[in-house]
Point group: none
Chain length 220, copies 2
DNA sequence: GCAAATTAATGATTTATTCAAG
DNA sequence: CTTGAATAAATCATTAATTTGC
């Protein structure tokens, strides 16, 4: 009866809220140290491990992209099909839409990032590109600062080599010591996010296909 | 051929983005004049009518509620479930998983609303209330993803090199335990980690012995 | 109302791609 | 051209939510 101790991580509402807030703030692919930090914070609200955070961002990002793709195609589809019926000149959109910039859009205002962790997107996909094209943008602005703080001020080209060093250290540490202090005490800090919710929406997902291809996963 | 001639409003990605951002900012049931303003703004991006805006908020609000309900119950269920039967050895699951009694949760901060639309009700919806269980507040976040960009200039593109680090493989290895850095320490009130890396040079990667290739990792 | 059966979400893994050093 | 490193895409698998027949 031991209940199946649930095999997988089940985020608490608080954890989810925080993760979503970070995502909205631009966090997409947190670095190892960010993951550590996030995990440490979230562990206050319930069990959580670094990999959970990692996967969460991976999945969320992927599904977000998927969603966008869908939206876009839907929209294009629609446009293609319904072009004839526009009474006005509104769709200037089609032309400008894809890759880049939109016309000078109406002013919008912004939202501040959570203090904690400013990592900006580092967008990497064409989608992002596209998406931000409109006017949203994602900029990397506080990066420098953060960077400096973290690296002690040095700022050189982060070639792989450089990273290596860090990575190595990191790994060594992590590796050997897996200590997961279940929530380190109080943790009162964290000033992140306001309350709100959702950034998610629906999406149709699903892909199913059964294929047992080659590999054998024999998972446990 | 047949096409769906424009039977119904098909929001452009930009419109959607803006609407979502407003929603996140606290807008729930815009007044007639707000709807007009919103509509005017959004019409810049494509065809749209007041009713579309109205319906959008209605639907979004309803779906959001549904989603929240889901989350909460899910969580509660989970809790009840796992709490009651846990006499087991090491599944730290139970221990740490005490959840949401949200003790002294981190402070939230407020954010501003979009400029255009000031009179927003910002009703703190009951949902928000509910959701944040402990200390809720509604914060209105402003919209805008825009403005952030200008700021900096940056030097180089954060290519993968900058940002990498946790690869899943890697992670998988470090697996569960990892996280939580070295210091669990202070956690003081202000910066626990507000400073941290970002996608730039921070730690690196590296994996030294990465394993690789291989697929067979079986069995976790 | 309840619980098996079905469907939708989403956490976790695996496989493909991409980029840039050798 | 080959290879290592990292990410994105696809897929697998489990859990929550719905639906459905009693």
């Amino acid at each position: 009866m031991p209940q199946a101790p649930s095999t997988r991580w089940c985020p608490t509402p608080e954890q989810l809220m925080i993760l979503e807030e970070m995502y909205r703030s631009g966090v997409r692919t947190p670095t190892a140290s960010q993951i550590q930090q996030i995990t440490a914070h979230l562990s206050y609200y319930g069990r959580i491990e670094g990999k959970n955070v990692f996967y969460w961002f991976q999945n969320h990002k992927a599904r977000d992209r998927q969603k966008l793709r869908r939206r876009l195609s839907r929209h294009h589809h629609h446009l293609l099909f319904s072009c004839s019926s526009h009474p006005h000149s509104f769709h200037r959109f089609e032309e400008t839409f894809h890759p880049s910039p939109l016309p000078p859009p109406p002013p919008f205002h912004h939202q501040t990032l959570p203090h904690f962790l400013h990592q900006l997107p580092v967008n990497s996909s064409p989608l992002c590109h596209c998406f931000s094209g409109g006017g949203s943008q994602v900029a990397n602005q506080g990066l420098d600062l953060l960077c400096k703080l973290e690296t002690g001020g040095r700022e050189e080209t982060p070639t792989r080599a450089n990273n290596m060093e860090y990575g190595y250290e990191w790994m060594v540490k992590m590796d050997g010591s897996s200590v997961v202090p279940l929530r380190c005490q109080p943790l009162k800090t964290l000033d992140l996010f306001p309350t709100k919710s959702t950034g998610l929406k629906d999406e149709g997902s699903t892909s199913k296909s059964s294929s047992c291809s080659t590999s054998t996963n024999l998972s446990p």
